[in-house]
Structure formats: C-alpha cells, structure tokens
Amino acid sequence: MNAPLIQRHAMDVQADILIEARHISRQFGAFQALTDISVQFRAKHLCAIIGPNGAGKSTFFNILSGAIAPSSGSVLFQGQDITGLEPHEYARRGIAKSFQITNVFKQLSAHENVRVAVQMRHARFDFFSPRAKLAGVAQTAQALLERVGLASLGQKPAGDLAHGQQRSLEVAMALAADPQLLLMDEPTAGMSPEETTVMMDLITELAAERTVILVEHKMKLVMGICKTLIVLHHGQLLAQGSPEDIRANPEVRRVYLGQG
C-alpha cells in the first residue's frame, strides 16, 4: 500500500523540478569559475541568481542555457540529462534565453526578428512554401510584439530601435518558442528607470506561466519580485532561499555590505 504512494510522491517531486544543476564545476584554464554547484529550480517559479561581479553568475547562466558546457557535473531538464547538447537542442526542449549583450538580427525588421523566432515551431526546413503563406506565424509574431509593447515598431530595422526596445524585442523572441524556462541575463542592464519598471512588470507577468531565472547584480531589483534567490560568491554557492532568508543571512550581508 505504501510503495505506490511513495512512488507517486517521488514523481510529483520530479514533475515539480524543471531544471536542476548537479555538482557543476567549470575551469577556464587555471581559473576556477565555478566549484561544485548543485541547485534545483521549480516549475512556474521566478528565481534570481545574484552575487557581486566576478561571482560566476554569467558562467552559471551560460551553463544552464547550454552556451558553454561544465567541466564536470550535469544539467538535468525535466529529469533528462541535457549536459553538452547543442545550443539549438536546448532551445527546442523549451529553454529560451535573452543575452546580456543585446543580441538581435540588427538588419531585419523587428517583426521579422520575432517572426523568424516563431517560425521555428512551424517550419524548420521548409524550402518551398512562401513565408507569407504561414499566416499564423506572422500573427503570433505581432501578438508577441504587442505583449512587449513594440506593436507600432514592427517594420523598423531592429538595429534602429532604442536600447530598451531591443531588450524587449529579445524577450519577445525568447517567448516565441513558448518556453517552459526563460533565462534572462541582466534583463535591465543599461535601461532607464522607466524602462526598468516596465521590464520588471513584464517579467513578473511572464513568471506566472513559466519558470524564469534572472541573473542580476542589482540586489534590490529582484528582492521584491522573486520567490527564491541564489547567491554565488567566488564561484561557490553562498546561500539560497526566500528573499527574507537571504536578507537575514550574515554571509550575504558580509559579501554585499562588507560587514563582519
């Protein structure tokens, strides 16, 4: 009688955890960027990786998003080991990311940017049917542009958009694949206060439907909205927990405020 129960319980846990890092380490030559980091991220959950500069945030982010492979350890997505797969494989499994340096197709129009991203789900190697025929794609793209507040700028070449707008465009592209996991590397970097608030609202909104992992070094920014915080320091996991725990954590205070 008990056995199945336990089993179901186990399965629930499995289901609840979207992506998991197991004993992740990474060296760059002699430099140890990350040492034995194990973290679990739960589904439909907004979470931030914080830490002072050089803490290894971006490295960790890149490993989670498949941009670089760990020296040791593994990444599990929905219980599957996806360590070292090609970047596009990550994307196809439903892992989307927005980069730290703005990263769009500069010469293509904003709409085309999103359209290409959306198209991925419909026609990967279609040589013959005219693009225009994929009407659904164009509409989805438009919808996404509206969602990030760029509806009116669809025809503008992405390169000509303002910095903040380009970041938003990136989010739209990331959303195009309707990902279960959205990784965002300093989404508000270089944004004006207004743009920042808009972006943070958007992020909270997005987190309602999927897991969102932010990398951020502005601590206050994430305190408000995140359920969980993960603090890295010198490439090691310093602390993880709710904003309250983190705020209370003396170690973190020392690192950030140089106390003790």
Binding site: H88, A117, M120, A123, F125, R131, A174, A177
Partner: protein, 326 residues
C-alpha cells in the same frame, strides 16, 4: 527620381523572376553579340549561386570555382567519353557539383570568417589538381575538347547550338528554372533562417535553428546552382578549360556579386552583366584593362558598397518603407 522609380521597383519586387525573365528575353538585342549574352547568362547564374552563400548567409567562399568546374567537366566528360544525351549530362554535372559541395561544405563550415575562406580556397585547389592530374579524362592543362551537341529535332523545329540565338534561348530556359527555384527558396521560411544566421549565428541557434545543418544546406544548394552554370558553360564553349577550376575564377564570382550588390536578388546578375560587358569593351579599347577593372572595383567598394542594384534599392527604400527584399 524616387517617385518615378518606386512603382517600377515595387512591380519588379513583386514579380522578380518574371521581370528578370522578361528582360532576359530581349537581352540578346541589347548585347553586341550573342556569345556575350550567353556568357552573362551563365556567369549571372554562377554569381546568383555564389550570392546565396555570400550575400544571404554571409559566408565568403574562395572555392566556388570548384563547383563551376566540376559542373563543366562532368557534363563535358559525360558527352565526350560516355556519349550521353546532353540533358542527362547536365543532370550529372549538377548532381556532381552538389555532391562535391556537400563534401567541401561538411569540412569548411567548421571554420569561420577568413579561415572559412581559406579552407574553401584550399579544398578548391585540391579539386583543381585532381582534375588537372586526371589528364586522360579531363585533358589536363589542355582542357577538355569536343563537348558538342549535334543538332536535334524538337517540337518540329531543328535546334542547332551553333546558332547563337537558339543556344541563348535554350540556356535561358535552364537559367529561368534555376532562378525560379532560388527565388522560391529565398522567399521560404528557410530563406528567413539563413538571413537570420547571417545576421547573428548565436541568436539563430538560441531560437532553436541548427546553424551547422542550415549552413551545409545552403552550401550544397549554392554549389549545385554554380554547377548548373558550369554545365551550361561546357556546352556553350564546347570546351572545358582547366582555368574554370582556378581560384581566380572564384574571385570573379566575388567581384560580380559585389559589383551588382550582394544579398540582393538581381544584384549578381547585374554585376555579371556589367563586369563582362565592361571587360569586353575595355579589353578592345586598351591593353591596360586590369587597371580599369581594378579601379572600378575599388570605387565601388569605397563609394557603392551595396553595389549597383543594391544602391538603387537603397534609394528606393529610403523613399518608401524598408520592407520588400528584392
């Protein structure tokens, strides 16, 4: 000039293949002699094939002569040695260059930037020596001679390739099909993908596109189209010169693309036409044609980086909305 230009260009943009064909139908009348028109047809196609890789996917290959040459030689050899029907010979030429494209591409796409260019150059040279050495089959440095298509009956009328006009229109048929295909591909979702890759490889991958595979596909397509150009050239010249495999021949594709405007549909054709016509005129005017060609080339890179057609489109886009990709 924009208001006058806009409607015309919009029309061209909408039916780009149709309009180019209409132009090519009357083209022989505009050229001093048909052989030049045929050359432009062939090299136009060659440049279009090259542009698919360079202009649209952003990969600068110095090995494209390999595909022109393989197309020429395989078609030529099928006719000279195997006495096959010329249509089959062309099919073989195109197939073979596609195959060589697959091999070269498979190796080359691992590298990027200038290294990609150099790997393609090296592989191209290896193909060159392969054919150079196979003297028994290719005629080596003397080239392959005797690629002749006997006059034949078709739909009641006699088709004789020694009649330059007939030859031109037959070749036009093939070019039409190829252009239609290219246009279709560029308009397809895949067309969007390769442009995305040109713009930002990392991003394309993050969107879930298999960059390597897409690159390889374009490479093969591009190779096959250049191969067709080669096949036609073999029949046009009735010889296959070894020079058609030389890297200077690859350089010519780059020149034509740039002159006309890379990454535009018509650009390469315009480029080929202007290049060959200029060469034809200049060489009869002065022995110093290299200086003239070189100067024109530099002027274009400095002042019209988008090429002749590209600059036209530029004017037009500034006059209207930056939409249609011509």
């Amino acid at each position: 000039m924009a208001p006058l230009l806009t409607p015309v260009l919009t029309l061209i943009a909408r039916h780009r293949v149709l309009s180019v064909l209409l132009f090519l139908l009357i083209f022989p009348w505009l050229m001093p002699y048909e052989a030049l028109a045929v050359n432009i047809l062939i090299f136009g196609l060659y440049a279009v094939g090259f542009n698919l890789l360079f202009g649209y996917t952003g990969m600068l290959s110095f090995g494209h002569a390999a595909f022109l040459g393989v197309g020429s030689y395989l078609t030529g050899m099928s006719i000279v040695h195997a006495h096959l029907h010329w249509l089959i010979a062309i099919a073989i030429g195109v197939g073979a260059s596609g195959l060589v494209g697959a091999l070269m591409g498979h190796l080359a796409i691992r590298t990027r930037g200038i290294y990609f260019s150099m790997v393609t150059l090296a592989l191209g040279q290896i193909v060159y020596y392969g054919f150079y050495k196979a003297e028994r089959w290719t005629g080596g440095e003397n080239g392959l001679r005797g690629v002749t298509v006997p006059a034949f009956e078709f739909a009641g009328l006699t088709i004789d390739f020694t009649n330059p006009v007939t030859k031109y229109y037959v070749m036009l048929g093939f070019v039409a099909i190829a252009l239609g295909l290219v246009s279709r591909i560029l308009a397809s979702p895949f067309g969007a993908v390769i442009e995305a890759i040109r713009e930002n490889e990392k991003r394309a991958a993050a969107c879930g596109y298999d960059v390597a595979r897409s690159k390889l596909l374009v490479f093969v397509l591009s190779a096959a189209i250049c191969g067709l150009a080669g096949s036609l050239r073999a029949i046009h010249l009735s010889v296959v010169p070894i020079d058609s495999l030389h890297y200077l021949q690859s350089g010519q594709a780059v020149m034509m693309c740039l002159l006309g405007g890379m990454g535009t549909f018509f650009g390469p054709f315009v480029g080929a036409a202007v290049f060959l016509y200029l060469e034809d005129v200049v060489t009869t005017l002065t022995r110093h044609w290299m200086a003239v060609v070189g100067t024109i080339f530099m002027v274009f890179i400095l002042f019209f980086p988008r090429g002749i057609w590209g600059s036209l489109i530029g004017r037009w886009e500034r006059a209207t909305t930056p939409s249609a990709q011509t």
